[in-house]
């Protein structure tokens, strides 16, 4: 019964989305306030119905209702409760449901918090959200129904893929989808602006918090996925340039560009048309990612199932939305008023530079991801485009962008002084140069490593120097500096943290790829092996039993200079239902570095294959994005941008109509530095 209610609620959400697709736009075009006003309640209604649907499916999984195909295929009565819940989206149907649930959530949030939006903009935005939602409801209902029944019901289910039975599944997909789908709001705003034929700085002010929220989730989602792969796969890799990783990375690159160009639009009323295009492209890349993952055209660990009908359906959605929005763009964009002027050397110029390199970087990833498909269609031969391509081409371009990062915030709006900026950055540059030389000098060979570390130091030091200047650190009494730091706007803190975080991540990446130590050997109990500064002794093997698996764990003691530091217990788990083994790695963190041990099979002589890694500064790879996300949060909480808070700009938003005059560039809130 509950299952049927869930199914029915999904159909109702679809029906509501269809209504919401038409009435508000109609109202906006004919100026009918009542029709426009239907958008809000129906968006909230959609969210309510989808929430009922999701709750019904979760309920079916939790009570192990094996009359539902989805539960049979992905669950088992003995599975721990956490994995019964997370297993709901650990499969194709459930993950699509999560997708639309988050879409409905965002639609509901816009309806709820969008009280200060001009009525026609709000109506159009919610209508565009409903177009997307309708397409995906139809997709689920017609090709991926999670509520399909099976009769007679089996007594037991097939269990969830053991690799997915991890806390990572509880965090990674929801965060990633919050990011992916969150960019639909920016997309809807862009399309709504094109429908309206009007765009101004206030538009950017509304779009930025939504994009920022999506970006924060996507950043965390990607980082979490990377760490999950790292600790679960057992060979110490954290990024594989796998098509599915690229599918999440491309919207991130485009979204990062969008955040930066929206600043220019908000502060200077320039780059308007470009910002609209970026908003469209970012969500288009999210859709492309969904297509790549869900259609199975690219084989990958993430492809749960491959079904041609589904692939064609999502491809149709993809073509419809990307093609449609770009056509609309080509038709309406030339009619938009161009924005303000600025010199090439200026804050705006720096942000354009940022956008240029981020979009080119994104294109590089796109080409590498799709090239195997194109190549196979053209020649029939199968190829892989792997790390050698991405590391070389993407690495080269992103390095140029990173080298420029510290300059951006040093330049003034409209007309900047590059020489002056360079002078103020001397300390960061000197520090980076010293570090580079100190690494390169003793072993003149690792020039790339030295340059990479130097680059990371440059970006981090650049961010700190800029921050120190803002608070007049060491130039004013400490108390004054502190009160200045306290008074810095959230957006400024956000920028400093995000730039510092990207530097941290680069430091971790370069350090891990250059100084990673690896030992693979067969160890017998009693044997000792040295890696990094640590001696690892295999004390013995311990067999254990878990709820739905049996495992063989290795007990290892880690010593440094003879003194016992800690124990690690990597293990191999055997899951009976699927007859699958997984490995649980043993990881010990020392400072920012990690000792990583994975266990292989035990041979007839009683020796177990063991893989040990010493990974210097590896945790920075994920701490960096964490700091970046923290920066995003600081910026999001900025009082001036809080959703619903009165805009403190000198130009109050006129009620109902939004600023009709896109004349003088919005003075907006001044940056603290000016």
């Amino acid at each position: 019964m509950i299952v049927e209610i869930g199914h029915f609620a999904l159909v109702l959400a679809f029906a509501l989305a269809l209504v919401q697709s038409v009435l508000p736009v109609w109202g906006a075009r004919s100026g009918d306030a009542r029709l426009m006003a239907t958008a809000g309640p129906s968006a909230l209604g959609q969210f309510l119905f989808v929430a009922i649907t999701a709750a019904a499916l979760i309920h079916a999984h939790v009570v192990s209702d094996f009359s539902v195909v989805n539960v049979v295929e992905n669950s088992h009565s003995l599975k721990p409760l956490l994995y019964k819940i997370t297993g709901v989206w650990g499969n194709h149907e459930g993950s699509m449901l999560l997708w639309v649930a988050i879409l409905a959530l965002f639609g509901g949030l816009v309806a709820f918090f969008g009280g200060n939006l001009p009525a026609s903009l709000k109506a159009n935005v919610l209508a565009v959200q409903a177009w997307i939602a309708s397409a995906f409801y139809l997709f689920i209902l017609s090709t991926s129904n999670p509520f399909a029944r099976i009769s007679p019901a089996p007594i037991e289910g097939n269990d969830l893929n053991p690799v997915l039975q991890d806390i990572g599944l509880a965090i990674h997909p929801p965060l990633l989808y919050l990011g992916y789908v969150g960019f639909s709001i920016a997309f809807s705003f862009a399309v709504a602006a094109l429908l309206d034929g009007r765009i101004d700085a206030a538009w950017a002010r509304w779009v930025r918090p939504w994009s920022l929220a999506a970006w924060i989730c996507l950043t965390l989602g990607i980082a979490m996925g990377s760490y999950w792969a790292y600790y679960t796969l057992g060979w110490g890799g954290w990024w594989f340039w796998d098509p599915v990783e690229n599918a999440s990375f491309m919207p991130w690159l485009a979204g990062t560009a969008l955040l930066h160009s929206a600043i220019v639009m908000e502060k200077r009323d320039a780059l308007k048309i470009w910002t609209i295009l970026l908003a469209i492209l970012t969500f288009s890349l999210s859709l492309l990612g969904t297509f790549l993952v869900r259609s199975g055209v690219l084989t990958s660990v993430h492809a749960f199932a491959t079904d041609p009908a589904r692939g064609v359906f999502i491809l149709a959605i993809l073509v419809l939305f990307i093609g449609g929005s770009l056509t609309l763009f080509a038709w309406r964009a030339p009619g938009l008023k161009p924005g303000g002027l600025f010199a090439p050397i200026s804050r705006e110029g720096a942000l354009v530079f940022n956008n240029l390199f981020l979009t080119v970087g994104c294109a590089i990833v796109l080409v590498g991801t799709l090239y195997p498909l194109v190549y196979e269609m053209a020649t029939g031969a199968k190829i892989t485009v792997g790390p050698p391509y991405f590391n070389l081409v993407f690495g080269a371009f992103i390095a140029v962008l990173l080298a420029a990062v510290p300059f951006g915030p040093m330049l003034a709006w409209k007309r900047g002084d590059l020489l002056g900026a360079a002078e103020r950055l001397w300390f960061a540059f000197a520090l980076a140069a010293i570090v580079t030389i100190a690494i390169w000098w003793p072993s003149t060979g690792a020039l790339l490593t030295a340059l990479g570390i130097g680059l990371a130091v440059w970006v981090m030091a650049g961010a700190v120097v800029e921050w120190a200047m803002r608070i007049r650190l060491l130039r004013a009494p400490l108390g004054e500096s502190l009160s200045r730091a306290w008074g810095l706007p959230g957006a400024t803190w956000g920028m400093t943290l995000a730039h510092f975080g990207i530097g941290m991540a680069v430091l971790g990446i370069v350090s891990e790829s250059s100084w990673n130590e690896e030992r693979i050997l067969a160890m017998k109990p009693g044997e000792v092996v040295t890696i990094g500064d640590y001696q690892v002794a295999l004390d013995g093997m311990i067999p254990r039993k878990g709820e739905n698996y049996a495992e063989e764990a290795a007990h290892l003691s880690i010593r440094r200079g003879g003194a016992l530091v800690t124990y690690l217990e990597p293990s191999r788990r055997m899951f009976a239902t699927r007859r699958m083994a997984t490995s649980q790695t043993g990881i010990a963190t020392f400072g920012f570095s990690q000792l990583y041990i994975a266990l292989g099979e035990t041979d007839k002589t009683g020796a177990s294959a063991v893989r040990l890694y010493w990974k210097p500064l590896v945790t920075l790879i994920w701490l960096g994005p964490l700091i970046m996300a923290l920066g995003g949060l600081a910026s999001l909480l900025d009082r001036r941008r809080r959703i619903g808070a009165p805009v403190p700009a000198r130009k109050p938003v006129s009620k109902g109509g939004g600023p009709k005059d896109s004349g003088p560039p919005a003075p907006a809130a001044p940056m603290a530095a000016e």
């Binding site: 060979w235 600025f342 354009v352 590089i364 031969a381 371009f397 693979i520 994975a598 292989g600 294959a609």
Partner: protein, 148 residues
Amino acid sequence: MTRKQRRLTLIAVAGLVIAAAGALVLYALTDKIVFFNSPSDIVAKHPKPGTRIRLGGLVREGSVERGGNAHVAFEVTDGVASVPVAYVGILPDLFREGQGVVTEGAFDASGKLQADTVLAKHDERYMPKEVAEALKKSGEWRGDTPPK
């Protein structure tokens, strides 16, 4: 500078960056890609030692030999031809005789593939697409469930 001059400067800079990216992409896409081959392809083509390739097929029954210190040797077959592979390290959890596998590495002078990557996917029901197609080509395909 006028609006037009500025726009031209921007277009010129963007053009340069895009041209540089294009050149680098084209270079990397001819030089840094790896071809996928089935064992029959390898026997027919005899790739030169040192060329990186991706080899996919089934792990031949009874061919897995475990040496000391995590050295493993096995053969990859598509039912028609077999290619010897050597690997040092921990094999993936799902590596088994008779199961689909994709390996990547370079051939040594003796015609053995020195693999640095061995992929067996995570799901028991899963068969790498390339392997499935290669098996269909060699006539060893046994329906939609991978051969046990």
